[in-house]
Symmetry: C2
Subunit: 302 residues, 2 copies
């Protein structure tokens, strides 16, 4: 099998596995499937679960797009690849739970290859967590699972990709991280195809073990209007990040991607409130004071 | 009085006048005032009314910022002005009514001057309307008022600035205009300061006569969950426009402007729904079919 076919097979399996687990976790709603075609080559399948018992919205998208010539916007940082043929395959997901004690999460796994003979290729991806009322044990579990997924591929990888995640998911105009981070990587190819692909699989396979226990332990936590309103307010930050900063979103929209599949990352309900600030020492203030800045959760730097 | 002082006096008066009228229209809530300073020179006053009877949120901001050296982002399109001192004064407003039959509106009036001897200066601004359930009479009234404000300054101005508005407030990724348009202009200086300033005042003074009668005639229109949900859904487009396309918003956030004052344009409550489409021949479909594309409302081109 070609490289792209191997990655595609893995990612289609991962999409299935994650959707099955989310349906089981939810216990009520099911994913609707939307297959789509890209005019210039390729297509994908978006799966969206809405108004579930656990998930207010969960989207898991697969895409495989290709063409004879890379779109100019794709070669901005790699002018050497201008005019080459390309293929890109990826899975991307965002889950917005109903209960404010269950964190929102996002993950992405992708492979890119350009040119025919001696193709240039790389892997990218990662996963990150956006809690509203964080539990410190959950944060440790999330980062330990991320670290364990990286460990077989190099002792420094977790720290490197954890830092990259903190830097990438940062809202400059709010001086806040989007959440408590996780892993973010791109341009992964130095170890050769087999090992790089094994690394992607290791991170991809770690997503459910990282997220599922957190959902299970927080989903029955009681909440009221106060927590729900705070969740809707903080979801505003998610919208701000995705529409102002997120390269995947902006590149997708600018390059004529399928708008509904790209924007299925946006939360179903959101609110903004002018100049809102949490009360000092409130549970809401704890999020701002302790969690919305880059931190060395696992004491790696000590 | 210097040019900037004259414009400042007018804009401060306009902010007062508009806020007074909005409070009267609302009949319940009042504006809160927030004065702010800019570290690099100048400041402003944001006024926000929330949870009114008529307006779910209304923000009217005044700002006067200046500095010895223009920020690099401000000189992108005018490299000849790099390094010059500058002053910018403006009023900007966005109103989000509660009743879905009352349109959202936005207006902006601004003056910019750069350099000391032989300063380069210009006016910019305009107003636009974003209905959810448009009434054709309202659309005609809005555009007729806009046309009348332009008329004394040139027969072609309305058509020119109406087209610019349609082009500017366009969501490429949705293939929709933001609303039914109005006026948008920039770099206005060809007629000299006195006439250009008179034009700005003419448009500024036309805003309330354009908007107020529309609010008054629609505010008692009965609505239910269906209309409210559609309004919240369409407000998502407003967020998408402001965060993806709006130059004022993006420039403000990138140049270290006051985040809360810039983002007071965002609607208080919003929702997104994956792949939602209006039913054929429904009142919601009418918005899409008849109003969300550039149209020659007043038959000017015939």
């Amino acid at each position: 099998m070609s490289n792209i076919d191997q990655v595609k097979e893995y990612l289609l399996g991962l999409q299935n596995q994650i959707c099955n687990s989310v349906e089981k976790l939810d216990g009520d709603a099911q994913f609707e499937r939307d297959a789509w075609q890209r005019a210039d080559g390729g297509g994908g399948e978006s799966r969206v679960l809405t108004n579930g018992k656990v998930f207010e919205q969960a989207g898991v998208g697969f895409s495989h797009v290709f063409g004879d010539k890379m779109p100019p916007s794709a070669t901005k940082h790699r002018p050497d690849l201008a005019g080459e043929s390309f293929q890109a395959v990826g899975v991307s997901l965002v889950f917005h739970p109903l209960n404010p004690y269950v964190p929102t999460t996002h993950a992405n796994f992708r492979f890119f290859t350009a040119g025919e003979e001696n193709p240039v290729w790389w892997f990218g991806g990662g996963f990150d967590l956006t809690p509203y009322y964080p539990f410190h044990d959950d944060v440790l579990h999330w980062h330990r699972t991320a670290r364990a997924a990286c460990k077989p591929f190099g002792d420094s990888l977790y720290a490197e990709y954890k830092d990259w995640c903190d830097t990438y998911f940062y809202l400059q105009h709010r001086d806040e991280t989007r959440g408590i981070g996780g892993l973010f990587f791109d341009d992964v190819n130095a170890a050769g195809f087999d090992d790089s692909f094994a690394f992607l699989r290791s991170v991809g396979n770690a997503f459910l073990p990282a997220y599922q226990p957190i959902v299970e332990s927080r989903v029955d936590h009681e909440y009221g209007d106060r927590q729900r309103e705070f969740q809707l307010y903080r979801r505003g930050r998610y919208v701000e990040f995705n529409l102002i900063y997120d390269r995947g979103t902006l590149f997708g929209l600018q390059s004529g991607g399928r708008t509904e599949s790209i924007l299925m990352s946006l939360p179903p309900r959101v609110r903004w409130e002018y100049s809102w600030q949490p009360d000092a020492n409130s549970p809401e203030a704890k999020l701002y004071d302790h969690y919305l800045r880059p931190r060395d959760w696992l004491g790696e730097q000590q």
